[in-house]
């Protein structure tokens, strides 16, 4: 097991290195002259060139990249072009709130989807299965911002049950301290995932139900419910763990949309604002962070699955 973890860790480190290179070079292509952005359009080309030279932006891109890597290793993400602040400080200020929002959405989605998917598989083609499948299709086809809008229109403007704006509290714990304000954002975030997770869980549970060990468990005289909890659940959840691990980019994208829709001050909103401000150090840092989080998500999922199912280790 330790060997497997080390192997996966090494692969993850390599992938992260690859991500940093790809992201850095692509963003460099998009904004090759930071001087122009920082100083504005009215400044002379000479002044821009002088600025770029002074900050080393005229060096070959590979050198700049290696430099950036060195900074990264020291936890330095650079300085914002437009806000008089270190990028790492800005991200740290907002990360907690975004993380809590994502986690709440994820937990809600899993809490609904896992039992639902298994139930659908067990009562395949029953009324519940058909209804849940239909709802999943609908949710999957609905852009999350549209769903959010409908929720706002119905529950906020018509019924007045929840506010249309998310909690503006600076605490990351708004999910708990201001549950009313966070209800609609969390539901919006979770809805799309529920559709994906439940269908995934359904098909993996169906796969497992067709395996011989389920029949053997039945022959032992176990109740159907015991078969589900003792044998099926664990095996049927493995593919879902892997899926969740790969979905980090989707979750981050969901955050951008939901934070913008409900005006929730998190990393997504920070990213959107930086986009308008052409604040590339921040965009670069957050994109990189997203990539690293994804790698971490994959790594965690793989290790969890390998810990639960020892066949994986052998395969590698």
């Amino acid at each position: 097991m330790a060997k497997y973890v080390l192997h996966r860790l090494a692969v993850s480190a390599l992938v992260m290195l690859g991500i940093s290179a790809v992201v850095y070079f692509m963003l460099h292509l998009v904004s090759e002259s930071p001087g122009r952005i920082v100083l504005g359009q009215r400044v002379s080309p000479e002044a821009v060139a002088a600025f770029n030279h002074q900050h080393g932006f005229d060096r070959p891109v590979v050198v700049q990249y290696l430099d950036y890597l060195k900074q990264l290793l020291h936890g330095d993400l650079g300085r914002s072009y437009k806000l008089n602040e270190n990028v790492s400080t800005l991200i740290a200020q907002n990360a907690g709130r975004s993380a809590m929002l994502s986690l709440a959405g994820l937990v809600l989605a899993l809490a609904i989807a896992v039992p639902l998917g298994i139930l659908q598989a067990v009562r395949r083609n029953g009324l519940l299965d058909r209804a849940a499948t239909a709802v999943s299709y609908m949710l999957y086809a609905t852009p999350s911002f549209l769903l959010g809008l409908v929720l706002i229109a119905v529950f906020s403007q018509q019924a007045g049950l929840f506010p249309a704006e998310a909690s503006q509290s600076h605490s990351p714990w708004a999910v708990f301290t201001d549950p009313r304000g966070m209800t609609l954002p969390v539901i919006t975030l979770a809805a799309g995932s529920v559709a994906v997770f439940a269908q995934h869980q359904r098909s993996s549970a169906l796969d497992q139900l067709g395996q011989d060990y389920i029949r053997v468990a039945r022959a032992k005289g176990l109740r159907e419910r015991q078969i589900l909890t003792r044998h099926l659940l664990r095996n049927a959840c493995m593919p879902l763990i892997t899926l969740v691990g790969t979905l980090v980019p989707t979750v981050l994208a969901g955050n951008v949309i939901v934070e913008s829709l409900f005006n929730y001050p998190g990393l997504g909103l920070l990213f959107l604002n930086s986009l308008q401000r052409e604040d590339y150090p921040l965009l670069l840092a957050y994109t990189l962070m997203g990539g690293f989080l994804t790698v971490a998500g994959n790594f965690l999922a793989d290790v969890m699955v390998a810990a639960a199912d020892r066949r994986i280790e052998v395969g590698k």
């Binding site: 390599l14 992938v15 690859g18 991500i19 790809v22 992201v23 692509m26 963003l27 998009v30 904004s31 299709y137 609908m138 999957y140 086809a141 609905t142 852009p143 999350s144 911002f145 549209l146 809008l149 409908v150 706002i152 229109a153 403007q157 790969t246 980090v248 980019p249 981050l252 994208a253 951008v256 949309i257 913008s260 990213f271 959107l272 986009l275 308008q276 052409e278 965009l283 957050y286 994109t287 997203g290 990539g291 994804t294 790698v295 994959n298």
Partner: protein, 272 residues
Amino acid sequence: MRRHPLALAGGLLLLLVVGFCVLGPLLHPTNQTDVDIVNAALPPGGDHPLGTDTNGFDVLGRLMAGGRVSLEISLLAALVATTLGTLYGAVAGLAGGVVDGFMMRLVDVMLSIPFLFFVLILSARFHADALSLSLVIGGFSWLLSARLVRGEVLTLRVREYVLAAKVMGASRRRVILTHLIPNALGVIIVTVTFQVADAIIVVSALGFLGFGLTYPTADWGSQLASGVTYISADYWWLVYPVGACIILTVLALNLLADALRDAIGRPTSARS
């Protein structure tokens, strides 16, 4: 088709949407170029079955025009993605060994990069038109098809019928053309269908975030995005019709893709 009522539904729905966007303007010709402030934001009724928007454009006509743009972008994006992905995946799967390892690690790297961020950065920097938007989306979403096609090639490559062809003396070219491609085609078609659906969602999300197509071209996403601003003003006809269009189209595509996926598994197993 009879065994797949959902596929039938999906296919019909899709035909309906395409017909609506392509043939619709012939039945319901509208002026989509000149702003008409006098008749702005009219509720549905009379000449405007779905009312007018804040620029005075007929909403029904705008839905048809916007739908064409959306479908074109997504179809092109899906084709770009699938072509790239199929070629890449096939090369990796056929090459095998170190080449395959390197190519797939690269896909791992690319897949770990939050793609929406990149698209946002690109479309904020360069003003997007339909063509560039579909190239960007396609250029980022080929990764999954590459993985799928590679997996398919790897399993097909060691199938006994492929071995049988080799024993008969079939050339590599022949094996690829007569056995691998026709058998992998099902997977590829399914991928295209899913990707068209995904692209529609992405384009609409970009529009909502304000980085979609620029005025006056308006796909469904940007129409929805501009309608959203007025949702509190009770201009419901600016939001729900276009929302329904997006949902129905994506729904139709997903139904179709799922049914196709079920169907391609069939001829291989006699017992089911």
